[in-house]
Amino acid sequence: EAGVAQSPRYKIIEKRQSVAFWCNPISGHATLYWYQQILGQGPKLLIQFQNNGVVDDSQLPKDRFSAERLKGVDSTLKIQPAKLEDSAVYLCASNPSGRATDTQYFGPGTRLTVL
């Protein structure tokens, strides 16, 4: 079974530039998550999708971050414009149902450096 795919793996941009990350979850998984992991901290949920609908985006900085999952499969997370504090690893995860008792499977992440 293929795992969660993410691209790119690394990205370096200057502040005020835009950047986009892509995620393809495990086939058949209805729930998709985007997390932000700042160095020295644990992953923090940014947004959760159930199929193509948003379930939770309470911690997404909506003035600069946006995400979509148009066909209920793969997803894109965008930052526009980026700030220095956005430097982090962005992790995508998927889960068959959205319940915590079902395992969340994580992708390898995209490491973003904002200069």
């Binding site: 020295g40 644990g42 159930q50 008792t101």
Partner: protein, 118 residues
């Protein structure tokens, strides 16, 4: 507000000995707890979980203990092996806002870097 805390950023243990990783939480509504393991340049992988109706759960070399009154859980690895060297994250969740789809958000701790010394 850090609701899940891992106060030891790092831990070194001799191969073959027991590794004990600790986690404390402040939100008494949390009722399901998980441990994830993370290798460099990889995403976290699920290791073991425990529901608040239990105080212990075992899976091979890994055992998680839950002390609800102290709001504390620990992960025991015995015997420790070099391949166990990784960052371990504790996570917690509670029923919260449930929809038909399920919405049990995980709150992660800051992680403990475990190094197993051969």
């Amino acid at each position: 507000d850090q609701q899940v805390k891992q106060n030891s950023p790092s831990l070194s243990v001799q191969e073959g000995r027991i590794s004990i990783l600790n986690c404390d939480y402040t939100n008494s509504m949390f009722d399901y707890f998980l441990w994830y393991k993370k290798y460099p340049a990889e995403g976290p992988t699920f290791l073991i979980s425990i529901s608040s109706i239990k105080d212990k759960n075992e899976d091979g070399r890994f055992t998680v203990f839950l002390n609800k009154s102290a709001k504390h859980l620990s992960l025991h690895i015995v015997p420790s092996q070099p391949g166990d060297s990784a960052v371990y994250f504790c996570a917690a969740t509670y029923p919260g806002r449930k929809s038909n789809f399920g919405n049990e958000k995980l709150t992660f701790g800051t992680g403990t870097r475990l190094t197993i010394i051969p």
